[in-house]
Amino acid sequence: MSLTPEQVRQVAHLARLKLADDEMERMRLQLSSILDHIELLQAVDVTDVPITAQVTDLTNVTRVDAVTSSLPVDAALANAPDRQGDYFRVKAVFEE
């Protein structure tokens, strides 16, 4: 299974990863090789086989509606790369 450069570009966009041109190509070759390996699955008969999204077999794990946790604003903002007052600050959106 070989990916096209356009597919790799599209996936990188979805994944929000800026990749240099040479890395795009290296990524394309490596992903294609991994996908070749994964092709093995296409041979498995999965007719009527349910999916396994998790293995716990648990259901209805919920909590009572009560306020039990909080984080002081300074603790939350202590790690912020950029802040203004009690807000996290980011560059304005240009794209899209």
Partner: protein
């Protein structure tokens, strides 16, 4: 015997008898860490001040007579586990400066038990890797041969225990990240049943596969650690609401009558003969101890690798999407919001992390979901059924852990698929959610090998019982690397 060579159980006995103090133990280990770090690089962050404070508090608690089984024992924590006020990097440049405002549940449990935290252990970036070479801060070296890798992703956790830089450590295991490095470093490592130990505060790699578990030099020590960290956590919806057994009580030495299955599929093509010999010899010994050995088959084993390399990257592609440099971590300059996010992620994530994010994003994307992700989840069901069926025939399984001994640094870095094959015997256990215990089973070319015992869900006790019986009939655990 040097203090750093004690087991946890031995140290416990000496602490309780007042023959040593936690401060003495801690100082000895801090010294050992300082001496070996330039060679091994097991730790990403050392916390000597915190450790000594905790040691003093532990000594008071011991004196007051209300010590727990781990009070005063110096331990290390894999850097993917969140520690309040102690930098937590996950081995990544993206989180190089992150100082979390909260503790993981397992860390809270250790703190309640009164353990001593020596520091945060090196690892493959975001737990993705099998050699520790993907650490953004330089890999850890194998204490048995410093030209070789310790395994991964919990390489620092395994190396630190093997080298006497900690009495025990915590790691995480998503596809073999506890068991493979335990085998490659010649120590005991346990991946508990999915849901046995809280995941709250483990920085998620693949949420349906991740489990936290202990490393130590003996099965008894691992049992002590498991007892302390296991149990239901209301903050983790996938944690099991089951009582935690007295695991030490299961270490009877008597394994007569147990049925041990040996799955033929785990002796894979390309397995090193020395590894296979060590594992088969260990299985023979288990038979000699009175267990019944049964050949069994888990026919879907060969699909575990491709299933894993869809499910784990898919989950990680979302779990790691939050690292955008907005709320925490490092942010690179850019022309606008998305340019900054994409530059930060593109440049600060390492190659393997970027590769898996790409792979997972692709597998979940519109038009490919059914062929990849959905199909992988269906095949996961078949893999799980293999295990469910085999439990009607046997009480546990015995198998190799890694097809090879520790490999040379740089040997597999250019070939992702070859690296992935290193986990071929450990991945199915995560996909099925069952527990796996690794105990050292001798050497091949002077490098450690590990026997993997695989159990029924929540039956860690049987694994520990068999692992302990085997261990006590050998002397592997008494051997230390010469450093």
């Amino acid at each position: 015997m040097a203090l750093h060579e004690l087991t946890i159980a031995e140290a416990r006995a000496q602490l309780d008898r007042g023959e040593i103090t936690s401060v003495q133990l801690t100082e000895a280990l801090l010294e050992r860490i300082s001496a070996l770090e330039p060679t091994l690089h097991s730790y990403l962050t050392q916390t000597p001040e915190l450790a000594l404070q905790q040691a003093q508090a532990a000594d008071e608690r011991i004196k007051a007579g209300n010590a727990s089984s781990l009070t005063g024992i110096p331990l290390g924590i894999k850097d993917v586990i969140v520690t309040k006020d102690v930098r937590t990097t996950c081995g990544s440049k993206v989180l190089e400066n992150w100082v979390p405002p909260y503790d993981a549940t397992v860390v809270s449990k250790l703190n309640e038990a009164g353990t001593v935290t020596l520091g945060k252990l090196n690892m493959d970036e975001f737990a993705m890797g099998s050699s520790n070479e993907n650490s953004a801060f330089g890999g850890t070296r194998n204490p048995w041969d410093t030209e070789r890798v310790p395994g991964g992703s919990s390489g620092g956790s395994a190396a630190a225990v093997a080298a006497g830089q900690a009495f025990g450590t915590l790691g995480t295991d998503t596809g073999g990240s506890i068991r493979q490095p335990a085998a490659l470093c010649g120590i005991v490592g346990l991946k508990p049943t999915y849901g046995r130990v809280s995941r709250y505060g483990l920085v998620a790699f693949a949420s349906s596969l991740d489990q936290c578990g202990p490393f130590a030099r003996t099965v008894e020590d691992v049992a002590l650690l498991l007892e302390t960290i296991a149990g239901h956590d209301p903050k983790d919806s996938t944690s099991a609401n089951l009582p935690v057994p007295d695991y030490r009580a299961s270490l009877t030495g008597d394994i007569r009558g147990l049925k041990v299955g040996v799955p033929s599929e785990y002796f894979v093509e390309g397995m090193e003969p020395g590894v296979e010999k060590a594992v088969r010899t260990a299985i023979e010994q288990i038979k000699d101890l009175g267990a019944e050995i049964v050949e069994v088959s888990l026919p879907h084993t060969k699909y575990a690798l491709p299933v894993y390399y869809i499910i784990a990257p898919a989950e990680c592609s979302t779990n790691l999407a939050r690292f955008d440099g907005v709320r925490y971590g490092v942010r690179l300059e850019g022309k606008g919001l998305f340019d900054e996010i994409e530059s930060t992620r593109g440049q600060l994530f390492g190659a393997e992390v970027r590769r898996r994010i790409m792979l997972g994003t692709y597998a979940l994307s519109s038009g490919y979901y059914d062929a990849y992700y959905r199909r992988a989840q269906q095949v996961r069901t078949l893999i799980r059924r293999d295990f469910q069926e085999v439990w009607s025939k046997v009480d546990l399984l015995a198998a190799p852990t890694s097809p090879t001994v520790a490999f040379k640094i740089g040997e597999k870095t250019d070939d992702p698929v070859a690296m992935y094959l290193s986990d071929v015997c450990t991945l199915p256990i995560n996909l099925a959610g069952v527990p796996g215990l690794v105990v050292p089973c001798g050497f091949s070319d002077n490098l450690p090998t590990g026997l993997q015992l695989i159990g029924k869900p929540f039956d860690e006790a049987t694994l520990l019982r068999v692992g302990h019986a085997y261990e006590q009939n050998n002397t592997w655990y008494k051997q230390h690397p010469s450093l």
